[in-house]
């Protein structure tokens, strides 16, 4: 992975604090993500990892601090803006559109890339038709990439957990994001499913050059995949650095690795 250029920062989080009422979820967190890297965020449950992602893609609005994405600095942004600027994500507990087929879920991921208006779509002619077909091809490429052709037309609600996680990744990829936020993509997977998922993540990172922010509990995975690791603990920034540095960090060992996790 040393061949890729990880100098320019794509996302910089500066001194973010977030609290719900009295409960402080994030306490002045600052870190950055460089273009093309795989950046892991780890920490025990309730450390504020998911909240961090929610702040990044605009679902939570921090009380303090700013986020700089591709040079633009914001105190907060609407989820729609985040998405349209190229931030996509998957969710800790799957948030697929259960009533829709795999294909439709992934096509929905394309929605920002589609422009034709209601009337053309109602008539399903000209631009609307071609647009639909072009995006269908992109979606199909993703389906091939994730190797889920078989479940193309199946409603996702009925799919097994592992596959749903895959579809969700597919939906995120469909947006062709520059920054991909993965919230525990391997939670509750058996070892070989994890294998596959890790492979997909690396491929996404290398083939499409997508920058990835990854929340994961499985340390071995984290250590293998990550370029750099950020450690959170109850809203506080515990450590930040290369995997081996973090592994060596005493606080981290005490606070986190000491605790046996699932």
């Amino acid at each position: 992975m040393n061949d890729k250029n990880i100098d320019d920062v794509i996302l910089a989080v500066d001194n973010i604090s977030l609290s719900f009422g009295v409960m402080k979820v994030l306490d002045s967190i600052s870190f950055d993500i460089k273009r093309g890297e795989i950046r892991s965020i780890i920490g025990p449950n309730g450390a504020g990892k998911s909240s961090m992602l929610n702040v990044i893609n605009g679902f939570y609005h921090p009380q303090q601090g700013s986020i700089t994405f591709k040079g633009e600095t914001r105190q907060q942004m609407a989820p729609y803006v985040a998405a349209s600027h190229g931030i996509a994500r998957t969710f800790q507990n799957i948030a697929l559109f259960k009533g829709m087929s795999t294909l439709d879920n992934i096509m929905t991921g394309r929605n920002l890339k589609m422009k034709t208006n209601l009337f053309l779509q109602a008539l399903h002619i000209g631009p609307a038709r071609t647009e639909e077909l072009e995006n269908r091809e992109v979606a199909e490429r993703i389906i091939d990439f994730l190797d889920i052709q078989a479940i193309r037309k199946k409603p996702v609600g009925k799919l097994p957990y592992g596959l749903q996680k895959r579809v969700e990744l597919g939906r995120a990829l469909a947006a062709e994001p520059e920054l991909l936020l993965l919230d525990e993509p391997m939670a509750g997977m058996n070892s070989e499913e994890k294998e596959d998922m890790s492979r997909f993540i690396i491929d996404v990172n290398t083939e499409f050059g997508t920058t990835i922010a990854l929340i994961e509990h499985d340390m071995s995975v984290v250590m293998d995949l990550s370029d750099r690791v950020l450690v959170l603990d109850y809203g506080l920034q515990l450590a930040d650095g290369l995997p081996h540095e973090v592994r060596a960090n005493q606080d981290v060992i005490d606070a986190y690795l000491g605790i046996p996790h699932e």
């Binding site: 998911s50 929610n54 679902f59 969710f91 800790q92 948030a95």
Partner: protein, 298 residues
Amino acid sequence: MTFFIEVVLSGLMAGVMYSLVALGFVLIFKASGIFNFAQGVMALFAALTLVGFMEKFGMPVWLAIAGTIGVMIALAWLIERLMLRHLVNQEPIILFMATIGLAYVLEGAGDILWGSDVKLLDIGIPQGASDWMLDTFDIYVEKLEVFAAVTAAILVVFLAVFFQKTRIGRALRAVADDHQAALSVGISLHTIWVIVWSVAGIVALVAGIMWGSKSGVQFSLSLIALKALPVLILGGFTSVPGAIIGGMIIGVGEKVAEVYLGPFVGGAIENWFAYMLALAFLLFRPQGLFGERIIERV
């Protein structure tokens, strides 16, 4: 000034009358997440049965009431048996639809059993204006509605105790949260549903008696459900006190609006005004005045 007081008072009273109907909705929604559209028809059905027992079988009031309560409980059991049981874990809208179907069945059944004529319901509840209020303060207060207010108060206290103190009550609250929890309390879901529908049935009977003695028992009784809905959203689907407070706010709101605003826009604004009022509240508290807060997370 006295007139304004009069308007507000009658608003409060009317509101309480709505609350009596709303209470039934709340109970069932609280314990099973079902929006029971049949509540209004249940009130009609209960009242019809009561009158039927008194007229057709010449029962004394207390016996007829007891009998009707029995019928409502049996009804609850049937509903659980034939309907709810088969619809467990369905989407709320499906259950809602089912209750509308139920409303139709009850409506037809009530008419076939007891006929569609207007029936007088007189179980000795005081009626007409309170002469004392009228003569001393020149304020018009309907005795029946005072009686209804008192009954409602008692009912609410009773329900509060029921929910807080009794084991079943706590179980019901638990079901509201999730079904597993309920089972853990050691009462089967089915029993709980039968109980809650029975209680709702009895509340419906009370509402039916009040409205029935007000206007005679007839089909239109079932339409009071529509008056209860704004109360419901205002107070929150899950709050017993909400139903009462909401009722009063709606009652006063619509009466004041009708009397002071109505004449300028042609009148009969009560109905939509109640809904608009509720809607306005919702925009500030989407879960109703007393409903549990909705927290969104991913």
